[in-house]
Symmetry: C2
Subunit: 544 residues, 2 copies
Amino acid sequence: MGSVTVGSYLIGRLVELGVRHVFGIPGDYVLSFYAALERSPLAVINCADEQGAGFAADAYARVNGIGAVCVTYGVGGLKLVNSTAQALAEKSPVVVISGGPGIGERRRDPLLHHKIRSFESQLDIFREVTCAAAIIRDPDSAQRDIDTALAACLRRSQPVYLELPRDLVAAPLEIKPGTEEAVERDEAALEEAIAETTRLVTTAMQPVIIAGEELARFGIVDQLPALLERSGIPVATTTLSKSVVDETHPLFLGVYEGAIGHETTRRYVEESDCLIILGATLSDATLGINTARLDPALTIASSSSQTWVHRHMYPQVTLVDFVKGLARALPSRARPVIANPARPPAWQPEPAEPVTVGRLFQCLNAFISPETTVVADVGDVLFGAMDLVVEAWDFIAPAYYLSLGFAIPGAVGVQLANPGTRPLVLVGDGAFQMTGMELTTAVRYGLDPIIILLDNSGYGTERPMLDGRFNDVVPWHYARVPEVLGGGRGYEIHTEGELDDALRTARDDRSGFSLLHVHLEQHDLSPALQRLTALMADRVRAGG
Amino acid sequence: MGSVTVGSYLIGRLVELGVRHVFGIPGDYVLSFYAALERSPLAVINCADEQGAGFAADAYARVNGIGAVCVTYGVGGLKLVNSTAQALAEKSPVVVISGGPGIGERRRDPLLHHKIRSFESQLDIFREVTCAAAIIRDPDSAQRDIDTALAACLRRSQPVYLELPRDLVAAPLEIKPGTEEAVERDEAALEEAIAETTRLVTTAMQPVIIAGEELARFGIVDQLPALLERSGIPVATTTLSKSVVDETHPLFLGVYEGAIGHETTRRYVEESDCLIILGATLSDATLGINTARLDPALTIASSSSQTWVHRHMYPQVTLVDFVKGLARALPSRARPVIANPARPPAWQPEPAEPVTVGRLFQCLNAFISPETTVVADVGDVLFGAMDLVVEAWDFIAPAYYLSLGFAIPGAVGVQLANPGTRPLVLVGDGAFQMTGMELTTAVRYGLDPIIILLDNSGYGTERPMLDGRFNDVVPWHYARVPEVLGGGRGYEIHTEGELDDALRTARDDRSGFSLLHVHLEQHDLSPALQRLTALMADRVRAGG
C-alpha cells in the first residue's frame, strides 16, 4: 500500500467500479496521468476529438453502468461541457477527469496557457453540468474527493467532475478506512406506498406501467420481467427508455409518446385508470410535445428522487426499493390481450424501388438480431427508430437532451462496453458531418458497427417547421469516407435491392465498419415525424 | 420604426457595427431568428459543427473587429464554451447568440428538450467565458440588454452572450434614445504617464517596444508605423501578437519568446534598459515557458486595463490613449542597426529530398505573398510558423489559449472577413482530425484556402515530453478528403520537388481549397519546438 499515489488510487477505484476503458485525448496538463493509465489495467481509447470522447463515454456508461473520459485542461475540458450536460439530463454516470495546472504553478504563475478567467472557471462550469465536482487540491483530501465524487456518480447515475493537478498525479496517498455513506431508508413509508399502490392496482380496470430509463440506470431492468409476469400489467416505454422492456414481450404496448406515437398505444395508456410510472423522465420530447394526456389524479410515479401517489408524495421512497416492493406485493391478475402496434410486417424488397424512410425501417426490423444494439442519433432517425422492435436494453439514444452527433462515437462506446454486440447506427447527414469522422476510432480499435446514414440533404426535422437555405447540408460522398480513414467499407444505396444486398454483405463482413449511404428524397419523413413536425410548426410560428 | 422587433433590432445593431456574416447551425429554438437572418443583410454561414462555427467566428472577429455566431439552446450553445473561452482569453470580440425556449413555455413546462439543470444554466456557464451575458427576458429590456452587451464586446474586445427566447424574436420593440456610456478619462494622469515614459526613453541606452495583440484588437495597429518612424525604437512581438508589425520593417527585432525564440531577439530585448510593452498578454506560452528574463523595474506596460511604469500603476491610463500620446510625445532618436533573425534564406528546392519541418518553413517563406494571411493551428505548426516573415496583421493563431483544431474553421472566418486575402493554413494531423472536415464550409461558400497539413503521425509536441501510444494519431489519407467533400484538391507530398510543384499549382488554382498532405518523419521537430520541449519535459516530469 506504500506505493499508492493520487493517480493510482483514482485508477484503482475506477477499475473496482467496473470501468475498463477511458476515452479521451492527451494534453500536457494530463500527460503524466495518461502515462499512469497506460501502465494500468484501464485501456486508453484515443478519440479524434474530445466531443467524440464525451459521447463515447456517455454511451459506454449507459451500457456498462459507469464510464470515464479523461482530457487536458481548458481546451480539452471545455469541449466536454455539452456531452456532460447530456449525461446529466439523461442520467448517464460518466466520470469526467480533467488534468490541470499543478497546484504549485497555479500559485507561482498567474497566466498559464489554456487558462480561462481564473483557475476555478472550469470547476464552476462543470458544477452546472455534473452532480458533484471537485479540484483535488492535496494528497490528504484526494481520497475523500475521489470517493465522494464516485459515490455520487453511482448513487445519482449522473456525471461527476474531478480535476487532477499534474503535480499531484504521483503524490503519495495514504489510504484511510472509507466511511460508508449510510443510506436513509424509511421502511414504514415504503410499506405504506406499496400497500396503497397494491390497493389501487387491485381495484383498477386497466392498470398500465410506463417503464422508464432509470430502471436501466439503476440496474433493475432485470427485475421487470418478473414484475410483469406476476402482475400481468401491460407496459409501455418512452422514447428515452425504449427497450428497457423486451419489445417482443406479450405485455408490451409500444413506445408511448402522446399524439406522435401509435394510436393504439396512446389510447391504451391514456384510458388507463391506474398508471404506474417507474423511473421515467417525462418531458416535452418524451410526451409528444405536450400532446400526452396523463391524469396526475390517476398516476403513481416513482423515481430515484421520490415517489408520488396521485397528489401526495413519499419523499423517502425511491425507485429501486419501490420496484422491489411491487415485485413482492402486486397481486396476480388476468393478462389482457393487447396488440403491439409496432409488430413488423414481413420484409420483401422491391429491388428496383427507391428506398423510402418508412420502408427502410421495415427492412431494418427484419435485419436486426439478438446481437444488435441500435444506437440512434437525433432527427428523423430517432422518430423512425421507434418502430423498430428490439430486445431488452438494445436501444441507445439521447432522446431527451437530443444532441446531434451522438451516435457514431456512441457506437464506439457501446461496442467497447459490450464486445458481444454489433451496433447498428442510425444517423442523419447533418449529425454525421458533426462527428462521423470519429469512425477513425472504430478503425483504430477494430470495431465493426454498421452505419445506416439517412441522407435527406439537410436538417430534415426542421424543414417542416420553418425552412430556408440554412436547413441545407452540403452533400458529401459519405461512402468514400473509408478511403480517407483507411478502414471500413462504404455502400451507395438508392434502391431496396441495393439496401438488401448491402445489409447482407455488411452482416458477414466483420473486418471493420460498414457505412451505408442511403439516398432519400428530401421531403420524405417517417410517419412519426410527419405527426411531430405538424405540431412543432405551430409552436415555432407562435414563438413557443 | 413601427416594425422593429427584438430580432430585427439585434440584426440592425450587428450590421451597424460591421458584422456581415453570422456563423452557426440552426435548431428549433433558434429557427425563427434564422429565418429573420435570412431576410436580413447578414449572410448566414452554415458550418458542419458548432465547434467549427465558434472558431470561424473567433477568427472573423480578429480580422473584422467583431464577429458573431448563432446557435440553438443547450446542444448548440454548450458546444461553443471552448471556442468562447479562447475568445475571452485572447480578446476576440465575438457575439454569441443562442436561441432559447420561449419565456412563456419556460413558465409552463418544467422539462423542455435540450434543457440542462435549470433555464439559467447556460447563462451561468457563459458568464464564466464572456465579459457580459444576458437572457433577453422581455421586449422592454431588450434594447438595453443588446446595447449593453455589444458595448462591452467592443470596449473590452471580448466575447459576450445573448440568449434570445424564441417567443421574443418577433416581439415589437420600441426604440428609445440610447444612453451613451461616458468614457472616464483622466487627462492629467495620461500626461503624467506620457511625460514619465518620454523621460525614461530619452535617457535610455537601448529602449525596446513589445507590440502586443491588443494593438490589433483595439484598432490601432495603423498607428504603430508612425510611432516607430518617429521614435526609431526597435520593436518585437510575441507569439500571440506576431504580425501586428510588418515583419519586413527595418526596426523589427523578431518574435520574442524567451529562450525558445531566436537568440538575437532574446538578447536585444532582455538587455534593454527601457522596455515598453504595449497591449501584450504575457503568459507562460508567450514567455517561452517562463524562460523570459524581463525586469519589471525597467518596464513600462500599457494595456486595455491600465498602465504600469516600473512599480507604480496608472489605473485610468489605457492602451489606446497611451499609444496616441506616445506617438505625439516621443522624441526622435537615431535608429540602431539591427539584425532581423528570421530573414529567410533564398529557397532552392532539392527535388528528391524528403521534406523536413525546417525546410518546409523556408519554402513557405518564399511562397507567401502580400495577399497571404497565415492561419496557424496549435503544435509544431505554431512554433515553426514563428520563422515566417509576414506583413502587417497577416498572421492569426490562438497562441495563448492553444485550442487544437482552430485553423481550418478559422481560415473560413478569415477569408469571409477579408475576401481579398488567401489563407495559408498550417495544421497538424491531430488538429485536422478534430475540425478538418469543416473544409465543407469552404466548399459551400466558394473559399480557396491552401492547407499545409504537417503529418508526423501524432501529437508531436507531446512526444518529447512524455511519449506513449496515446500520442499516436491514426493515419488518414488526407489528400482524399476532397473526394468525400466533392470539392477542393488534394496533394501527397513526400519530397521538396512535390512540395514546390503542389504550391505552384495551388497558387494558380482558385477553384477551391488545396490540401497538401506533407509526410514528415515522426520525430522531426522545428528548431523552436526542440528548444521548447526540452524545457517542458522537465516540467511534466517534475509534475509542473
